[in-house]
Amino acid sequence: MNMRKFKRRMNRIIPNGRQMVIGVPFIWLFLFFMLPFFIVLKISFAEADVAIPPYTEIYTYAEQKLQLLLNLGNYAMLGDDELYIAAYLGSLKMAFISTVLCLLIGYPMAYAIASARKELQTVLVLLIMMPTWTAILIRVYAWMGILSNNGLLNGFLMSMGLIDEPLQILNTNLAVYIGVVYSYLPFMILPLYANLVKHDQSLLEAASDLGSSTFNSFWKITIPLSKNGIIAGCMLVFIPVVGEFVIPELLGGPETLMIGKVLWQEFFNNRDWPVASALAVVMLAILIVPIILFNRSQAKEMEGKE
């Protein structure tokens, strides 16, 4: 075999630059992001077992027979047990209401930033962005001190003479709503701002020249144009909140049923990995449509198409 032949053969085996550039992130993401979901799917069909790891294998191979044993019991249990259904519904309700609240609070804020002076915009965006770099844990923890029975809010209200005895806010759903809106508000504002700042002001001027009221042109021009920003912001809030664990755990109480918390308990407290996997699979099935919507809007954004 001469040198040139050898080289050609090696070239076929060693990927070229382009394949490497695509391949490295692709393989990493496939291995550590996509493949794990299939393992979750597999284990959701297993049975809990007192062993390490604590589940049974779903296939056996003996005497040239491959046996596949799918245990549907975990899914049947999710359907039967009211706790799980209530937790899913609770999570969806929490996520929906918080998303709407974030949109109602975040849209005017993003609008105000986008219409501020250019230098001021940078500062304001950083002010909004900074909390997202701070641990969600710490920001939620800050509210624990404020909302507790002998906390600052109750102390303030009592010293004002508005209430006689402390209000129970911590460990209720109200506290979870406050915590979720507080933590996720920046994720609503940032994509909205990124969208609003690109708008062409001459459209609004043209509308007002033609006699449109400010509210009318806002409703008919600004809102429809910011559709992509609204979708991205809402998905960035809605999807993670459905699986949120830290906020309901720290601020919520016994009435707070959310699926992220239930999954955590199944996994860490009951050590029931198959049921936790089944919970994750169902959660993913519920979220797949919003996730695809988000990915579409993100792909458009990334390719620079509008």
Partner: protein, 296 residues
């Protein structure tokens, strides 16, 4: 004009809503009283006490170590992904690739954490690695989701770039990798720095992923804080939280400062270029006019 004023009011109220709780937290970290809700005068004893808490300090160092590794790996991986998404428009599985890059941004952490743990357990059974879960497994988990953030930031910058500069270098005979390292990388450097800092902060903050994929003896700072906070508000935690807030606001300020300086330098350079070319065009008619009288 009325709506404009309403939105400005909302902005001010919103910023107060965002910053007031953090401010209160910082003030109360200097509270001398052991009861976190009663003010007992100023004191720094909780900060001093932190230094003696060796368990906490160990977890701080571990978290910082993981955050450093994550920042480096996430920037490398995220930049590659962003480059592929913005520059290579056609290849097999591109839609899937795009989905894989952006999905970690929104995927609930409990799902990612659980699935990665099950992967590591399955891998340990099949190929004997990882024998023990710890810093490496946490690093893999953090890199995967931080790379998504880096990819978004970097791809935004890559799209703005003037392709003609890279094309010019290519025309002059530079190899693609040389163009990438000598031209593309310096031009997107600010967004690489921003992505790196973001990954550092995200990794330092993460509780859920780390709880799933860590092993015994590899407790990170958020896990330590979480197990203390679960039982209620504690003055030591106020001090830790304030220190983290201080670090983050310092980094934010630096980002703002340097980006503003870079922006000003750029503006100055553009201004200078405009002035120079204006001066040149001013000179040219002059030069042309000068010989004119001679012909007469």
């Amino acid at each position: 004009m009325k709506r404009f004023r309403f939105s400005s009011l909302m902005l001010v109220l919103g910023l107060i809503f965002i910053y007031l709780p953090m401010l209160i937290l910082v003030i109360y970290s200097f509270n001398a009283s052991k009861l976190v809700t009663v003010w007992g005068g100023w004191s720094i004893k909780w900060y001093v006490g932190l230094l003696d808490n060796s368990q906490l300090m160990g977890s701080v160092l571990r978290s910082l170590e993981i955050a450093c590794y994550t920042a480096v790996a996430a920037v490398a991986l995220g930049t590659l992904a962003a480059f592929v998404l913005t520059r290579i428009t056609h290849f097999k599985g591109r839609t899937l690739f795009g989905g894989l890059v952006t999905a970690p941004l929104v995927m609930p952490e409990v799902i990612t954490g659980l699935s990665l743990l099950l992967l590591f357990v399955a891998m340990a059974q099949m190929i004997g690695w990882p024998q023990e879960r710890g810093i490496v497994t946490i690093w893999i988990a953090h890199t995967t989701f931080c790379a998504a953030y880096v990819a978004v930031v970097v791809s935004a910058r890559l799209r703005e770039l003037d392709l003609s500069i890279e094309e010019a270098a290519m025309d002059l005979g530079a190899r693609p990798w040389k163009v990438f390292f000598l031209i593309t990388i310096p031009m997107i450097a600010p967004s690489l720095a921003a992505g790196g800092m973001m990954s550092f902060a995200l990794s330092l903050d993460d509780l859920v992923l780390a709880s799933f994929v860590s092993g015994p003896g590899s407790t990170t700072l958020p896990m330590e804080v979480f197990s203390a906070v679960r039982l209620g508000v504690k003055p030591e935690i106020n001090a830790v939280a304030s220190l983290i807030l201080l670090a983050v606001s310092l980094v934010t300020f630096l980002v703002w400062f340097f980006s503003r300086r870079a922006e000003e330098a750029r503006k100055k350079a553009i201004q200078q270029a405009i002035e120079e070319s204006a001066a040149d065009s001013w000179k040219q008619p002059d030069a042309r006019r000068a010989p004119a009288p001679q012909t007469v």
